[in-house]
């Protein structure tokens, strides 16, 4: 019986060891393809700005439909994509959306609106 109990203890410890040092809390945000889109933007040889915008808009609808929270920088990046296609109205709207959801972004969003809105 001791042996069995000890084996169980061993198995439990193995599980703990495999699990690592910290249990991760549930995700705060819904990311969808955001990181891939940021990567595509930086590589700039994979997808056109139009295609990137469309992916971001589709993901945004998925996030909103499921009641998830849009991650930091998401609106702002979408605004940048619109801005690069000359759509300054959408650029402003998305920067305002970022600022509204994340007041921490205010200084930078205002800087961008001042400098790129012309």
């Amino acid at each position: 019986m001791t042996t069995i109990r000890l084996s169980l203890a061993t198995i439990l410890l193995v599980c703990l060891a495999l699990q690592g040092c910290a249990t991760q809390p549930a995700s705060l945000y819904q990311w969808q393809g955001y990181e891939n889109n940021v990567d595509a933007y930086f590589r700039s040889d994979k997808l056109s700005p139009q295609a990137q915008t469309q992916l971001m808009e589709e993901d945004l609808q998925k996030i909103q439909a499921s009641g998830g929270i849009v991650p930091p920088g998401y609106y702002a990046h979408l605004g940048l994509l619109y801005g690069q296609q000359g759509n300054l109205d959408q650029f402003s709207l998305q920067m305002q959306a970022e600022k509204k959801q994340y007041p921490e972004s205010e200084t930078f969003m205002d800087f961008l609106l001042r400098n790129f809105k012309k």
Binding site: T3, A17, C21, P25, S27, E35, F42
Partner: protein, 224 residues
């Protein structure tokens, strides 16, 4: 050795592994971090000390998620890069050399994260080729210029392969398959994700602390 004794030794070994596994380094001093607790973090495009051109933006594209999930607002990385470009800066070294005061004025972030990539890419060998990404980071308070936190992390393709036992033939097949995958550069990007997530996630020993947007804010060290 009897089975019972063997089990006892094994159990003891695992307890030892768990206790030493995470905590081999002395604990980081979080005094300055806690005195200047940042709400928002500006991640500067990483300094790349490797020959691989894609390294900087590959790591940067993975940096937002772990920090945001840790509970911080992360300045939009693509717009940060564009803002620097508008000011005539395309090299991460120039961006890193910008004064804390100026960064604070433009971006309004509480702290800046300076990442340096020291290893990025694949080393080809006969039996196995290894993809390795190593990055270090410094978190600096932009109001006082104080260093809040520093850390280093690596990730390797070998971590996934070390469990495979297939004899020499198996090893050779793995090596060929790996070289094909690795040559696409996408493997490096994937390993960069593991490395960056390890470097910038909260809840890890000597890692960044949970930020104000996390339900675990202020509970570091109490939930491990």
């Amino acid at each position: 050795m009897s089975w019972e004794k063997y089990t006892k030794v094994l159990a003891a070994a695992f307890v030892f592994l768990i206790m030493t596994g995470c905590a081999t380094k002395p604990p980081f001093d979080y005094t300055a971090y806690k005195e200047n607790y940042p709400r928002s973090i500006l991640v500067l495009p990483p300094l790349n000390n490797t020959p691989e051109v894609q390294a900087s933006y590959s790591v940067l594209s993975h940096a937002t998620r772990p920090l945001a999930e840790a509970g911080y607002y992360v300045m939009p990385v693509t717009l940060v890069a564009e803002a620097f470009k508008e000011n005539g800066m395309t090299q991460p070294a120039d961006m890193h050399a910008t004064s804390a005061d100026k960064l604070q004025k433009i971006f309004g972030a509480d702290a800046a994260l300076y990442i340096t990539i020291t290893k990025y890419g694949t080393v080809y060998r006969v039996i196995n080729s290894e993809t390795l990404v190593t990055a270090e980071a410094k978190l600096v308070d932009l109001k006082t210029g104080k260093l809040l936190w520093t850390g280093v992390a690596s990730a390797s393709s070998e971590e996934q392969q070390s469990q495979q036992h297939g004899g020499l033939a198996g090893l050779l097949i793995t090596a060929i398959v790996n070289q094909v995958i690795a040559s696409t550069l996408d493997q490096s990007h994937q390993i960069a994700k593991n490395s960056t997530t390890r470097l910038l996630s909260a809840g890890l020993y000597n890692g960044v602390l949970y930020g104000p947007r996390s339900p675990n804010f202020g509970k570091d060290g109490k939930i491990d």
